[in-house]
Symmetry: C2
């Protein structure tokens, strides 16, 4: 709160007593001092900077009433332990992506991304307007967490390989870092999916601990130097067509906030959501140019036949998820019916336009 507002508000009720003067240098302390734990290296381009942007936005919108300190993966807790940490109140906020917690509940993966599923704009529309966010809130409720969409990478790249992918059989025996449902699709195609935090990818690929990896897209992949550890860069990212990044807050912390600060936290997440997508769109172009022209990366489309086969496997994988529980079925139905409807509109709008 600013000093002048303080006095403005004071004067709006009748004060009987006198108020001591506050010197200009005397700053009011934040009312809330929060920690945000993340699955990213501190300030990693796009994702880590996105978490920091969210923290800064909460602070600015609240006029400094909330201060958020951001911790990179491993600084306070390891990357894949942030969900439990915020659930248990070790930190107030977490920043990651829902598919990292599929061990808690397979259904969470719908709130990150689905192979051959919705794009960034469609995900946001489903979450905000199609009931998706409500289902996500229900999913995290028993973990004492309130989730918010807090970023989107847009469509990702297919991944980095040291061998050509000419047919589905080239995926057999491949040990690849690929999280979420995309990983399960790889398993069915005969590969071995592993999940690793982003910060470990370069070394794992370079030392042969993994044979291949996907990460995000040119902007992020260039930042990790993945082009120095692999020969081929395939597209499109069939397994992650518009991945939602999340911010979750401890529910007890959230419920104790006054209403305006609750709106500010949720609003800041929406601002961070649009900001990250714009960041990726603008930076991917520059990074792509560097990868192509400076590093002479061999950028290739997956063969159509491979994509078709992966699509068929994906349909099965996603459908099978839906029979695991009533809640999974509800999420699957909501996601699928929204996606089906967007197709008709895409067919006469963005698709013919981009093909001009």
């Amino acid at each position: 709160m600013k000093r002048r507002d303080f006095f403005k508000n004071i004067s709006s009720v009748a004060l009987l007593g006198a108020i001591p003067s506050i010197s200009k240098s005397q700053k009011l302390k934040p009312e809330y001092n929060w920690k945000m734990v993340t699955t990213w290296p501190k300030n990693f381009p796009g994702l880590g900077t996105g978490a920091q942007y969210l923290a800064d936005t909460i602070q600015k919108l609240s006029g400094g009433r909330i201060k958020v300190s951001v911790y990179g993966a491993g600084e306070l807790v390891p990357a894949f332990e942030i969900f439990d940490a915020v659930s248990q109140g070790v930190a107030e906020l977490g920043h990651g992506s829902a598919y990292y917690w599929k061990g808690k509940n397979d259904t969470f993966q719908f709130f990150s991304t689905v192979p051959f599923g919705m794009t960034a704009n469609e995900m946001n529309s489903w979450l905000y307007k199609g009931g998706g966010l409500k289902l996500w809130e229900e999913a995290y409720d028993s973990f004492n967490l309130l989730p918010m969409a807090a970023g989107n990478t847009g469509i990702q790249m297919g991944g980095w390989f040291n061998k050509e992918i000419n047919s589905l059989s080239d995926l057999k025996g491949l040990k690849m870092r690929i999280p979420g449902l995309g990983g399960e699709v790889l398993r069915r195609a005969g590969g071995t999916p592993v999940n690793l935090p982003g910060g470990e990818l370069f070394t794992a690929l370079k030392t042969g601990t993994i044979d291949a990896t996907e990460w995000v897209s040119p902007y992020n992949d260039l930042a990790f130097g993945l082009h120095k550890a692999a020969k081929y860069y395939y597209y499109p990212g069939w397994h992650e067509p518009g991945t939602t990044l999340e911010c979750f807050i401890n529910k007890k912390v959230f419920s104790q906030l006054p209403s305006d600060l609750q709106h500010i936290v949720k609003g800041a997440a929406k601002i961070a959501n649009i900001d990250m997508l714009c960041d990726f769109i603008s930076k991917n172009n520059d990074a792509l140019e560097i990868l192509k022209n400076k590093h002479k990366v061999d950028i290739r489309p997956y063969p159509e036949e491979v994509l078709n086969e992966l699509y068929e496997i994906s349909k099965d994988v996603v459908k099978e998820l839906s029979v695991k529980s009533n809640f999974a079925k509800e999420v699957y139905d909501s996601y699928s019916s929204f996606k089906d409807k967007t197709k008709n509109w895409n067919d006469i709008s963005i698709k013919p336009y981009l093909n001009l």
Copy 2:
């Protein structure tokens, strides 16, 4: 400000005197009572409701310190006079789109949409990350206005016609409502562009004052009942591939706000921006179904040849704008170079993905 916050803040400095109790029913008045004038009918789906959503968001984020009353077109000032009204301080905020003010400066049109130009995501990326918003602020500065992107319709439809469009010559002599640069393209193709506020379209088309009209997309067009006034509905909206809606605020009003409320106003606009695009994406699908299945609307693609010819004309029209002033050149260069870069990334991401 909430009563409990008031006391929380009071207690953060030492008070010597006593504070009288405030009864629960005694609400503190807003510190700012603002008027928002708009170019849309009050609460018109998507656009009018988007303006109202922005007003509500400002109010919620500010904890009621700012109250915004929204006025539909003509309620306080006519639709196309809101720019001057806010510039002169008759109202604090305006909600419209920049191409409506091309009479002030042709260059403004870049901040709405450009024929065969950027999509919604690309526009937002250019504005927020590519220097576009800074140029827009510069453009409105001498009018005492600060602009913000406050919504996007996504790609629009081509328009409603009572005759088939089989070749460019079918546009000759056509009196069509089509604003901005798209209108200038129609003029070069032999037509007569007119601009009318949305609320006047149905009657104008029905009575033959105009021969054809574009408006937005299924969600909005259905709301005006345009299918009852025309036979053919063409796509895609080559002239408006991702139209930015604006909110502008009187600069004097803005500059007198404390810093947190400045962040809240700008932040609320970003929230409204993503919200409107999601609203259009989710509602266009439902409306498209109704237009197709219930009203049996004849929905057609523009012939490829027509689109190619319109593209060539558009290139000239946009290029010619750029030589009008140094500032126009600067905006054109910024817009064009950003757009060119996005193409390379689109080609290996969203485009091949949507074509799967």
